[in-house]
């Protein structure tokens, strides 16, 4: 939709002193091209935001820069010298350090913060074999002073919040003389106050000449700190936006089309309200919100990882709890104490990460397509308890036909199916019996485009129930939903999709 960006704007920094430069990077996985000619450059003292939908190639790019993956083709240079790290340690040695979204792996429970800060110095043999508490503390303190922030040195790492863990990782990176930090969704699990503190620290580090590649969808964050925004789509950098960044345009570039409600004002809005939530607080500290879903309506709820999507869905499904608030299903108070109660009431969920949440391992009973579909319905389909008759085979045959599941038959192992067809099978499981509200958590994870279309059709083809979909990808939300809600810091608010020009912060993706 924005082919001109590529020619109009240079993706390289205006400064001639570029620290890192990436030229025509490509990387394929089998037949999938994750990166196809990505180019960018970053100068010292610059914070660059990297935006892109799921599958745009962001994480592949980051993995190549941090030494986790190698590129098939293309060139990366640091200060003009070629850079092709084969391990994260090699990348760090050249001054590129990545702080990942999940900070659990930064340290380990049982170690103090000071220990964790010095962890890689222990490993690189620069420390004597016998170290004293005091010496560790002094060195750790020096590291924090150099970085310019404070952390409780004697606390156990396990007691540290996500924000402090991130700071530990950053401090450690800086002490290793990092020239460039790659931050992957750093604020995803941070509160507003914690995010502010992180921004202040990043801005100060920028003034000291550090380059930062900042991956996030949160426009509010990017607005606060980014000097430039680079947008990736289809494995390449397709747009660059200088300060002041026009985030609406950036998001449109990201999803490749104009922002608009997928299907505004469809009949569903006249349907009966099936499910209502009032004064909901997901966490004791979050802002309360209301939510209601009508019969036949498909509502997508989007937000960054850690914004509370899964927490909301699991509270509705009875696997998690609400801090406060009430729920009602078809006008009746609804308060499930577990999945069994939710399913009995008519609320079903296909949880995120189907391998973990829905499928039986290979060569284990119940790993066939038919058994995958029948698992929640065994007592209904086989009331006498014995698995006699062909009920589950018949149900599976119907589902295979209706959802166009590509498989050799109901008895085929679910592991012989592609990701998209596995997901269709999981959807078939929850469509095999009538329900009132279908919850889908990230239903398009690892699903190819064709299967995605089939799944969307199947979801939208039902008017006898409501569907609530959680997705971190706004593109998916636009494709599937009648109505899009945004969740941020564990609170839901409607996206302003009917305005001519959507407010950028309404769609933090």
């Amino acid at each position: 939709m924005h082919p001109n960006f590529a020619s109009r704007l240079p993706f390289t920094s205006s400064s001639s002193m570029s620290l890192l430069s990436v030229e025509n990077l490509t990387r394929s996985f089998g037949t999938t091209r994750a990166l196809s000619g990505a180019s960018l450059s970053i100068a010292r003292g610059e914070i660059v935001a990297l935006m892109g939908a799921n599958g745009a190639g962001k994480s592949t790019l980051v993995k190549i820069l941090s030494g986790v993956l190698s590129a098939d083709d293309g060139e990366v240079t640091i200060d003009g010298r070629p850079f092709a790290p084969r391990t994260p340690a090699q990348a760090a040695a050249r001054g590129i350090v990545t702080v990942h979204q999940s900070t659990d792996l930064v340290g380990a429970p049982g170690l103090t913060v000071a220990d964790v800060l010095l962890l890689n110095r222990f490993a690189d043999r620069s420390q004597p074999i016998f170290v004293s508490r005091g010496a560790i503390r002094v060195q750790a303190k020096a590291m924090l002073d150099a970085a310019g922030f404070e952390l409780p040195l004697d606390r156990d790492f396990a007691d540290l919040g996500a924000a402090d863990r991130q700071l530990v990782a950053i401090a450690r990176a800086l002490s290793n003389k990092a020239d460039m930090l790659i931050l992957d969704e750093p604020t995803a699990s941070l509160s507003i106050g914690e995010s502010q503190r992180l921004f202040e620290i990043l801005l100060r580090l920028r003034a000291q000449g550090l380059a930062v590649l900042y991956i996030s969808h949160r426009t509010a964050d990017l607005q606060a700190i980014a000097d430039r925004a680079l947008v990736m789509r289809g494995g390449r950098v397709v747009g660059a936006f200088e300060r002041p960044i026009d985030f609406s345009a950036a998001i449109e570039t990201m999803i490749g089309r104009k922002l608009e409600a997928a299907r505004p004002d469809v009949g569903a809005q006249n349907g009966r309200v099936i499910f209502e939530m009032a004064n909901i607080k997901l966490l004791a500290t979050s802002t309360p919100f209301d939510l209601s879903i009508r019969e036949g309506e498909v509502v997508a709820i989007t937000g960054v990882l850690g914004a509370g999507k899964s927490r909301l869905l699991s509270a509705i499904f009875g696997t998690g709890t609400l801090a406060s608030g009430t729920m009602a299903l078809d006008g009746q108070p609804y308060q499930p104490n577990g999945p069994a109660a939710a399913i009995a009431a008519g609320i079903v969920m296909a949880a995120e990460d189907r391998h973990h949440s829905s499928l039986m391992p290979p060569s284990w009973p119940g790993n066939s397509v038919a058994a995958t579909i029948s698992l929640p319905h065994l007592s209904k389909w086989y009331p006498q308890g014995f698995l006699w008759g062909n009920r589950e085979t018949r149900e599976a045959e119907q589902a295979i036909k209706r959802l166009r599941i590509k498989t050799s038959g109901p008895d085929a192992s679910i592991w012989t199916l592609s990701g998209g067809n596995q997901q269709k099978t999981v959807l078939a499981r929850w469509e095999a019996e009538p329900s009132r509200l279908l919850l889908l958590d990230e239903p398009f994870q690892g699903v190819d485009v064709g299967a995605r279309q089939d799944i969307i059709e199947a979801i939208r083809g039902r008017s006898d129930r409501a569907t609530l979909i959680a997705t971190s990808d706004p593109e998916e939300a636009f494709e599937v939903a009648d109505r899009i809600l945004v969740i941020d810091h564990h609170s839901v608010r409607p996206a302003q999709v009917h305005e001519d020009k959507p407010a950028a912060e309404g769609i933090p993706a």
Partner: protein
Amino acid sequence: MSSIQDETIGETPSPQGTGPFLSRVAAVIRSGAVFLLLIALVIGFTAAQPAFININNLMSILQAVSVVAILGAGVTVTLAVGGFDLSIGAVAASSVMAASYAMIVLGLDAFATVPLVLAFGALIGLLNAFVIVRLKVPDLLATLSMMFLLSGLQLIPTAGRSISAGLILPDGSTASGLYDPRFLLIGRYSIAGTVPVAVVLMILVALVLYVLTERTRIGRLLFATGGNEVATRLAGASTTRLKTLAYVISGTLASLGGIIVAARVGRGDVSSGGSLLMDAVAASLIGFTVMGLRRPNVLGTIVGAVFVGVLLNGLTMLNAPYYTQDFVKGAVLAGALALTYGLGRTNP
């Protein structure tokens, strides 16, 4: 990069797939290996020692393995829910003591003793389940401590003495009870002079548990719990109840095994049931190989137990010294596991 995983998974050939001829032959060999070996053993032993094929010898083999097979079936059920019951040997041993105590000290008859001992086993299973499911103690550790508890507990009522008629109790009095002769029939009677009761019990347990685990919805859910507990819970099943059921089944079967041992021996021996745990675990692991399922399965376990029994019996007839027995069992187990996992890897 879940899409990459999906692709590699998608390329994995299905076990039922129509692979090249050779790999199908390999699959047949693998799934039938234990049966083929069993037949080969029987033929070999018969050739070397014709008395081996005698019906009475075959029945004595089955009787010898019946306790291990029944306990192994229990272990198999706990393996199906993703657990492991290490306490079965101790449950069986303390059931021997409990049965003897009930008859000799308490003076109960067979019809009271048998239900009492089975209830004891079920109760231990319930306790195991409570510790594992409610207190979240890992299954191996929970059942290991239960094993220690029981092997200590069984000594306490008699102050460490074996229980036989005329036992002198800790308070100085003499126990007046006797083993009920009807109880002894469980271990000593043979139907029509050929089929021992213990063998009938083993076959019954095998059939009931086979139907339960492979042909009922409960069985599907038991395996589902072991395969993917999260998925099973999210599908609305109570995995706590399913796990509890598995440990209760395993405890009850272990006490049934104890009853058979008690009825055979006719006294409460403090050292009984020494190798039962390891033999039962070995039988269920060998069972993975049988029919190439590569997962716990009741019929496989029974066949595994019989296989080991045939091997030991045959070797004994060929005058192999008794002290080689554990080595033979170990070799069979290692071979079976190598066959299951090693060959399985190369010919998926």
